[in-house]
Amino acid sequence: MVARGLVCGALGAALVGLAGCGGGSSSSSSGSQDVALRFVAVDGDQPVGCGDVIEGLGPDGASSVAVSDLRFYVSNVQFYDAAGRRLTTRLDRNEFQYHGRAGDIAMIDLTGTDAGACAGDGLTYPEGTSRTNGAITGRVSGGTPARVTFDIGLPQKLMKQVIADNTGEGAPSPLAEMHWSWAFAYRFLVMNFTVVTDGAAGEGYVHIGSTDCGGDGTKALTDRDACGRINTPAVALDDFDPQRDTVAVDIRALLAGVDFTVTTEEATVPGVECHSFDQPDCPTVFDNLGLDFATGSADATGNAVFWAR
């Protein structure tokens, strides 16, 4: 179902560039080994890159999308061995991985800005950065990874600390991206994309992040420790070997059940809108991510978007 574009997508390129990070099975004498948690955007079995169009979405399969920007934060990465024992996981430090007093965070950015839809053509509110990152790297000790769990977003404690300690512009990389202006804290997952339905062009914006975060209108989490609706998707991948498997980010699954229309005061046009507030597409998108739209709680077993590949 993926129509190949002319340009080799940055999403695929990121995967190729990073596949080496797994570091083979070079377990050291202390029983620790390099580990890489690799991500790839997919449509079913097919990797999706910046030049690709995903077809057959929405009612009657009449809609197609091309991804322009796909970024998300990952936290609480926890590996387990085959017996279900928790392994010690330590993430590297680099421009996409930050160690804070209140926890660790990594950013996956599967889209650059130069190829295909990622260049922003056809999207009137593109975002995105030119840098890309398809893997989280670190070391794991105490056994051989066979299962992994993680969250898509910032832990509330880390978010509170980062907001309290930094200006919006001064936060350390990768936390200087994707803030929803400080009153709204951070977005955890951003996917911007073009939409075509029966030949008519539209735009798609899926922005997942905590809401009801308090504050005085300038900084979130000043008057509370956690947002009212945390909206942090959980992922649990059983039978996951990081040397063999990658984490699929399934665009078709993320948009399943969405009606691909946006109704403004004057017209109904092709498109998808969810900014984690009261947009009509939010309950469906949240459900696909295993999130309860009413409460903001997460259930990994209900998350159909992230799976082992």
């Binding site: 421009e95 800005t113 130069d114 260049a119 922003g120 053509d121 056809g122 999207l123 009137t124 509110y125 593109p126 975002e127 995105g128 950065t129 030119s130 840098r131 200006t167 919006g168 512009e169 001064g170 990389s173 200087a176 991206e177 929803w180 202006s181 009153a183 709204f184 735009e203 914006y205 005085d216 209108g217 300038t218 900084k219 403004t264 005061e265 004057e266 498109g271 900014h275 507030f277 009261d278 947009q279």
Partner: protein, 388 residues
């Protein structure tokens, strides 16, 4: 949509001079933060390595900024169109150049100009002030200050022959000959422009914890500004209220170069703007780039009327109403068209409902970005006026 950026073409012209101020004084040189008197909630701006900031260049640049001898016919200075009391704008829809040419675009406010990722209204290749300042100095169509091929040496000689300027140039660019060059003028002006820091408005005091700095109406307006109803914050966020932003911590991989069509025109129904003034399209000739302009900083916006790239909206309230409507309707004349229906308009400029009270609140919040300290700061004022 222009989100990429073209090459650093003008850099090559610029690297020839400057450089020199690495003198080894025993007293520690002031830091960038000290030279710019940055508030704590401002990051350090990005400053090109080829033009390190010094107090001497700032002082020289301030004098040049206000000196009409820097125009070909000695009738205008930078300050003609960039007046401190108006946050360095001129209250005109569009200005007139030194030789009478009518310029196509509204004079830019210069508040915090050091932090933009691109310079001017609609240009995606001007990345540094050192590039941009050559435009008002040397443009010949239209003529602005009119320092052109035919008179450049004469203009520079005015400064080279002036004892005060001889001393200021020598201090700013020690040991460098010839004493006065156009690039030195530009580097000094860029250094002064970086000191135009506005961060002491009522909003800033509120941000820093003074709950009394904003009225209840302004706080309400701030929340509306940051709401999914008004959507202002998508383009006007961060310390400078624009996502066209970079600072010393930005990296090539993270800087963005935003330009948007806000539905101001829709001539012929294809999203066109008035001919010759179509934003990025003038550079790229890509039809999808028609009407793409940089999101402006909203710092001191209550002082910078009239608004938009062509000064075609008179008041702040009308600007907010323009966004509520989701584009401007021009019913007749050569520019007739409904901007709300523009196929090139940003997906975030959509009609929505707002009460008069809500619009008033957003305007009141925007007024809280007026920084009286900035507009009255004597260090940014006309040095020739000091002498009187």
């Amino acid at each position: 949509m222009v989100w990429r950026v073209a090459s650093l073409l003008a850099l090559a012209l610029l690297v020839g001079c400057g450089g020199g101020s690495s003198g080894g004084n025993s007293t520690a040189a002031p830091t960038v933060r000290e030279l710019l008197r940055l508030p704590d909630h401002f990051e350090e701006p990005a400053i090109p390595d080829y033009n390190p900031l010094t107090a001497e260049k700032i002082g020289l640049g301030r004098r040049l900024f206000y000196d009409p001898r820097l125009s070909g016919n000695q009738t205008q200075s930078c300050a003609t169109c960039h007046q401190q009391a108006r946050a360095f704008t001129d209250a005109k829809a569009v200005p007139t150049g030194s030789t009478g040419d009518r310029l196509p675009r509204n004079s830019q406010g210069l508040s915090n100009v050091a932090y933009f990722s691109t310079m001017t209204w609609g240009n995606n290749v001007l990345l540094e002030l050192e590039q941009q300042i050559h435009v008002p100095l040397g443009s010949d169509n239209p003529v602005e200050l009119g320092v052109l091929d035919g008179n450049r040496e004469e203009v520079l000689a005015r400064f080279a022959d002036d004892p005060t300027y001889r001393r200021l140039f020598a201090d700013a660019f020690p040991g460098s000959e010839p004493l006065v060059t156009l690039n030195k003028v530009v580097f000094a002006l860029a250094s002064f422009c970086r000191t135009l820091i506005s961060g002491d408005s009522p909003y800033d005091r509120y941000y820093l914890g003074d709950q009394t700095a904003l009225t209840a109406q302004q706080v309400h307006g701030l929340r509306l500004f940051n709401s999914e109803q008004f959507e202002c914050f998508h383009c006007h966020s961060g310390v400078n209220f624009t996502i066209s932003y970079r600072d010393a911590n930005s990296t090539p991989g993270t800087i963005t170069y935003p330009f948007f069509n806000n539905g101001l025109y829709n001539i012929g129904g294809d999203g066109s703007y008035p001919p010759g003034n179509q934003g990025i399209y003038e550079l790229t000739l890509d039809p999808f780039d028609k009407g793409l302009f940089r999101p402006q900083s909203l710092r001191n916006v209550a002082l910078t009327a009239p608004y938009m790239h062509d000064g075609s909206i008179a008041t702040l309230r009308e600007v907010v109403q323009h966004y509520v409507r989701g584009g401007r309707l021009i019913e007749s004349g050569p520019y007739a068209g409904d901007g709300r229906l523009s196929p090139l308009k940003s997906g975030l400029v959509r009609p929505f409902s707002a009460t008069d009270e809500e619009i008033d609140a957003v305007v009141a919040f925007l007024e809280s970005l007026t920084d009286d300290t900035f507009t009255s700061n004597p260090e940014l004022a006309d040095p020739f006026a000091d002498a009187h």
